[in-house]
Amino acid sequence: MTRVLIIDDSSLTREFHSHILKDAGFICVTAADGMEGLEKATAEKFHIILTDINMQGMDGYEFIRRARQNPDYDEVPIIIISTEAKELDRQKGFSAGANLYLVKPTDAKRIVESMKMLLGTR
């Protein structure tokens, strides 16, 4: 089973993503900010990570940068799901090491399809 880490400071978004991903057959673990995400990513290995950008404490960019420094996560797909839609934000996301940048609101199908595509299961 594919394990996915969902990092978002909105409990609603975490719930939403967890639900659709569980329905799609993923095992989901959630974190409320980048720091908690890093702790959980260190404690256990995930196959793919979904993260928000604007979060209190450690934001999504910082989380991705730090995660990429961990050899366990240098090739793990990381998807940003953010409210930011500007090209600059996208560039920052990809520069930090994200593999995909999705803008909220996102529909379930798109998220799942994107994840499967990145995991090479499509």
């Binding site: 609603l12 939403f16 409210t83 934000d89 909220k104 609101p105």
Partner: protein, 690 residues
């Protein structure tokens, strides 16, 4: 108009002015029901001091954050409800799939189609038995013709043998002229010939009588079979038609039910889309939460400025005033944006939920349509009965064939017996003729006897020939009957085997139809129950959706609050100097906004001040979610429209004494429902009067 204060009249006028001002203030505070020119929610605001505003900012911030948390809590709850709906839909989908499989798919093929096939097989078997009957009738007709022909041949044989009596008599007369021993030998020979001929006659008569009797029995059986076959044909046709109609009705009922299931399935897809739409709308909470948090931070900043300003000196601290005015203006924009977005989300939510309710109703109708099969499914029992009847007919058909075979048994035996006996007798006659000829040759003066013996031999040869022809005809007829018998026995075996298979398959078909009859109502009950639960859950989710009302109320309150704050701040903060410290602090606020749309709203709020006169804000440049895009609020109007009477503190200049602004600071327009330009203008005039 102003009265000199150092005169009595001036003192009276001053007191009157104060009384009127106090009255107006009271009226304004009481609002439109008492004072039509007052604006609701604005009357008290300008009277607040800096400390009050600081307190109210804190209160408003708490309110906004609590609103966001409340929305989040409600969305989480309604999200749970929607997920429950999705799960219920999933369950309904599965049941619908089972029903579809049962009514339109493999299971139906294995039940109804199987029953159809069984009927077809039964019909084929019955039709095959009819073919056998037809063949029997044809054979029997031919047999009757051959029997008639044999009868003629028999008559011919009798005619051929008839002269033998005269010849034996002549033989006796002629032999009496010979010595006793010769005479005796010829007498014996003549007796033998007579006896043989008589035996031939009687035997053939008997055989032909037996043949005729067998033929009569067979014909009687044929007539019975023919009559019963006619009856069978009618029964079989009616039963097959009835069974087919039942199956067709069952099939149509299942198809109709399947159509209901398809409707339900499509409705479920629609409902899933609506739920998806609602979930999409709910995602606005994330962005609005961030915005409100940023607004809260800005409010903290404003409180710092308000807190620093002592009431006595605040009005003269134009930097603080400028900051509060501009910051309030920007927050007003932000809050308006937030509430615009929330209102659009509320609209989407309301429309999505309304659609859910509509679809739940439609789904209930579709479920009723599916449930219509409950009664129709009883057709399965009738089909089973029909198949049972057909099997009975098949059994009878096979039995009739067996009866025909039994009837032909003695007839065939008669033919064989008759043929062998006729042949043997003909040989006896020839044998007697030969003996007579031999005796005549050896007898002295036996020329006459020899002639008679020769004639006897000729007759016996003719008789043999005649018997031979009869034997051939009988053999042919025997062969024909044999073939028919063989054919009927083959069919009987086939029919029995088919009947056995059909009986087994019929039992299977009955079980399948029974299962179908039992399974469909159960599934339909489950679907309708789940559909009912779903409709109930939709209503529960609907009942718990308070968000649109909450947002409408909060929107009115918070926008009103910031408008009042803008109006209050406009007293001293409208003349923003671009390079002032307040302006720089305002710009610093922008850096705290993490979202581009906020930064744009911030810039838009400042643009009318910083841009040349007449420049307008391009609302389309403000970035929003794709699905919730709307133009940014327009900036128009003047603060003069919403300036109510102000209770001045000691040392503060009166409103009327304040210098007129050269450029009016921008204040967002009121929503149409709140806007009352006439009232505000009149109030303004009244205030200006004093």
């Amino acid at each position: 108009m102003r009265w000199p204060s150092n005169t009595k009249l001036g003192e009276k006028a001053g007191r009157l002015q104060q009384a009127i001002r106090a009255f107006l203030n009271v009226c304004c505070r009481l609002g439109p029901p008492v004072w039509p020119f007052a604006k609701s929610g604005k009357s008290a605001a300008p009277e607040l001091k800096a400390g009050d505003w600081s307190h109210r900012l804190e209160e408003e911030k708490r309110f906004l954050l609590s609103l966001v948390r409340g929305i989040e809590t409600e969305f989480l709850a309604s999200g749970d409800g929607l997920m429950r709906l999705a799960q219920q839909l999933n369950g309904i989908q599965k049941e619908c799939q089972s029903l579809t499989d049962l009514t339109l798919g493999q299971t139906q093929d294995a039940a109804v189609q199987f029953a159809f096939q069984l009927l077809k097989k039964s019909e084929d078997l019955v039709l095959a038995s009819y073919e056998q009957y037809d063949h029997v009738f044809a054979t029997f007709n031919e047999l009757q013709q051959r029997l008639a022909q044999l009868s003629k041949q028999h008559d011919e044989l009798m005619r051929v043998l008839l002269p033998l009596n005269f010849i034996t008599m002549s033989f006796r007369i002629e032999a009496s002229r010979h010595p006793m021993e010769v005479q005796q030998a010829f007498f014996t020979l003549a007796d033998n010939v007579n006896r043989t001929v008589n035996e031939v006659r009687s035997t053939l008569e008997r055989q032909f009588d037996e043949l005729a009797a067998s033929e009569r029995i067979a014909r009687s059986l044929m007539e019975q079979i023919s009559a019963s076959i006619q009856q069978h044909r009618k029964e079989v046709t009616a039963t097959l038609e009835s069974s087919r109609n039942h199956l067709r009705a069952l099939s149509e009922a299942l198809t109709s039910s399947g159509a209901g299931v398809t409707d339900l399935s499509q409705l479920n897809q629609t409902v899933t889309r609506h739920i998806g739409g609602i979930v999409m709308a709910q995602q606005c909470q994330d962005i609005t939460r961030q915005r409100i948090e940023h607004v809260g931070e800005a409010m903290d900043e404003m409180r710092i400025h308000l807190g620093d300003a002592r009431p006595a000196t605040f009005a003269s601290n134009s930097e603080n005033h400028q900051f509060i005015f501009r910051a309030a203006q920007i927050q007003l924009h932000q809050v308006q944006n937030v509430f615009d977005q929330l209102n659009r989300a509320a609209d989407s939510l309301k429309s999505g939920i309304q659609s859910l309710r509509t679809e739940a109703g439609a789904a209930a109708e579709a479920a009723v349509k599916v449930g219509g099969t409950t009664l129709d499914a009883k057709v399965a029992s009738q089909c089973q009965a029909g198949i049972g009847q057909i099997l009975g007919i098949v059994k009878q058909a096979v039995q009739k064939i067996a009866d025909i075979i039994a009837a032909f048994e003695p007839l065939q035996a008669s033919f064989v017996d008759c043929t062998s006996k006729a042949t043997a007798l003909a040989r006896d006659v020839r044998h007697a003729g030969l003996n007579a000829q031999v005796f005549a040759i050896h007898a002295p003066d036996g020329a006459t006897l020899e002639v008679l013996a020769g004639r006897m031999r000729v007759i016996s040869e003719e008789a043999i020939q005649q018997v031979g022809q009869m034997g051939a005809a009988l053999s042919h007829t025997t062969e024909m009957v044999n073939n028919l018998r063989q054919r009927l026995e083959d069919f009987k075996l086939l029919g029995e085997a088919e009947q056995e298979i059909l009986t087994d398959e019929s039992a299977l078909s009955q079980k399948k139809l029974s299962d179908l009859e039992v399974a469909i109502p159960v599934l339909i009950r489950r679907v309708t129950q789940q559909q009912g639960t779903f409709a109930q859950s939709v209503e529960e989710v609907l009942a718990n959706v308070q968000f649109p009302v909450t947002v409408a109320e909060a929107s009115s309150r918070s926008i009103g609050f910031f408008r009042n704050l803008v109006a209050w701040g406009s007293e001293g903060g409208s003349g923003l100097v671009v390079e002032s410290p307040a302006s720089q602090k305002i710009d610093l606020l922008q850096s705290k906004y993490t979202m581009e749309s906020e930064r744009l709203a911030h810039a838009a709020a400042l643009e009318p001040v910083l841009a040349p006169a007449g420049a307008t804000v391009d609302g389309s440049s403000i970035e929003m979610f794709d699905d919730f895009t709307s133009p940014a609020p327009t900036i128009a109007g003047t603060p003069g429209e919403i300036v109510p009477p102000i209770e001045r503190s000691e040392g503060q200049p009166r409103l009327a004494d304040l210098p007129k602004r050269e450029t009016a600071p921008p204040v967002p327009t009121l929503p149409p429902a709140e806007k009352n330009p006439a009232a505000s203008e009149e109030l303004g005039e009244n205030v200006e009067l004093f």
